[in-house]
Amino acid sequence: MTMEATRYDDGTISYPGHPRSRDGAEPVGTIDLSEHTAEVVTWTTSTATPPGVREPNHLAIVEFDVSEDVEDEDAETSVRALVQLTDGDVETGDEVEPVYTEELREPGAGIREPESQDWDGYRFEPV
């Protein structure tokens, strides 16, 4: 299991990857974010969750420093992701690390067709 961000020919990086960058550039490589720690940009604990989602559900937008994976000095050196947290015991600015989870939510319990996407991934906890 990996958590792949995509690097593009224009120096931008995105997670998830897209067929083209926001400005239309082609992908040129990937970076495995599961090998990095990240910083919490903001977070919430949701108490009203949809079918198949744990309650409460702890979520955060986190930012990865990937400067060591980038050679071009003009390229972006960070990328953000929306992730689940293991619990709500975090603050903005905390450093968090990934923990693999087989099911982030129950496939088929919600409206999304189970076969249309994967359901495993990473929860993040304070380092």
Binding site: V41, S46, L82, V83
Partner: protein, 384 residues
Amino acid sequence: MERVAIIGASMTKFGQREEWIQELLAEAGLDCLEDAGVDAEAIEHLYVSNMASGEFEGQTGVMNGLAHDIGALPAYTQRIDQTSSSGGAGIYAAWQSVASGASEMTLLVGGEKMTHRTTGEATDVIASLTHPVEYKTGVTLPSFAGMTARHYLERFDAPRESLAKVASKNHKNGVDNPHAQFQKEVDVDTVLESPIVADPLRLYDFCPITDGSAALMLCPESVAEEYTDEYVVISGIDGATDTHVVHEREDPTVMGGVVESGEGAYEMSGRGPEDIDVAELHDMFTILEFLQMEGLGFAEQGEAWKLVEDGSTERDGELPINTSGGLKSKGHPLGASGVAQGVEIYEQLTGEADDRQVDAEVGLCCNVGGFGNCVITTIMEAAQ
């Protein structure tokens, strides 16, 4: 290109309704025909703004059903889905149909039937607009609002109470709207003591789940004058799209679709933020009112909360916002909401807003889909 006028408007009671989607659409559609004094056979184009009647009710083809139900055959029909901004997108489509010369009489009806679903089910239908990597985290639109609100409050040192004041203001306005789901005042302490839904936001920071429908009648200005002297003109309208994946935006407190569509609507109308007398903003969550005020140029970034604190956005303030009660109090039947924003501005500009009436000649609506994913901004002016 001839200017496009709105000559009639209507909306059903918003709230928990026994009627299903087809009946709700027909109710607003027929009321709008009567309000405009237009015969159904005169309708050339008929648009239905609706996000998810198939998912909510198992009823598709709602535009065809409505044309049949109100006697508008053989008008051209089309359903408009742009998630929560379906109503605004419907105004844009209806405007295009008239401005292009393709139609001389266009009826737009927006509607949604939601309350028969549980909150979890309705939330999941709405959250299905998210990217797969977002969806599998269990994120909901309220969760995005919670994360954005926390970031805004921490970054701009804004008081939590300022968000509660948005809810309280809009509930106060809704008391005087007979179509609103909640005609009930809610004070700031009640908002701050209500159950947490997406920390730091609480129950009263969120709009309810709602059934309802709203409608507008559009035609060329030269045709409008055959029907009435009391009409409004769409002087500016534009739509824009931001990233599908919310966390990919450079600044979580900037909604690019609001900025872009606002700039387009201002440019088309020759107006600016300083010319707007009244505005309906998409307050699906209280934090969205701040982000739209800033994106549309009513306030500098990080300072919208100050205008709420000093009363500028109240009904008797310098720029009344959400005189209808907004989505917060009036309710949010997805496909109807953008149309209902237009209904409120139409009534304000034609002097039909009764106890909600403010002194206004230029009004603005901003309808947001997803969490700022798609946005339509419309500027309307009273006929001179």
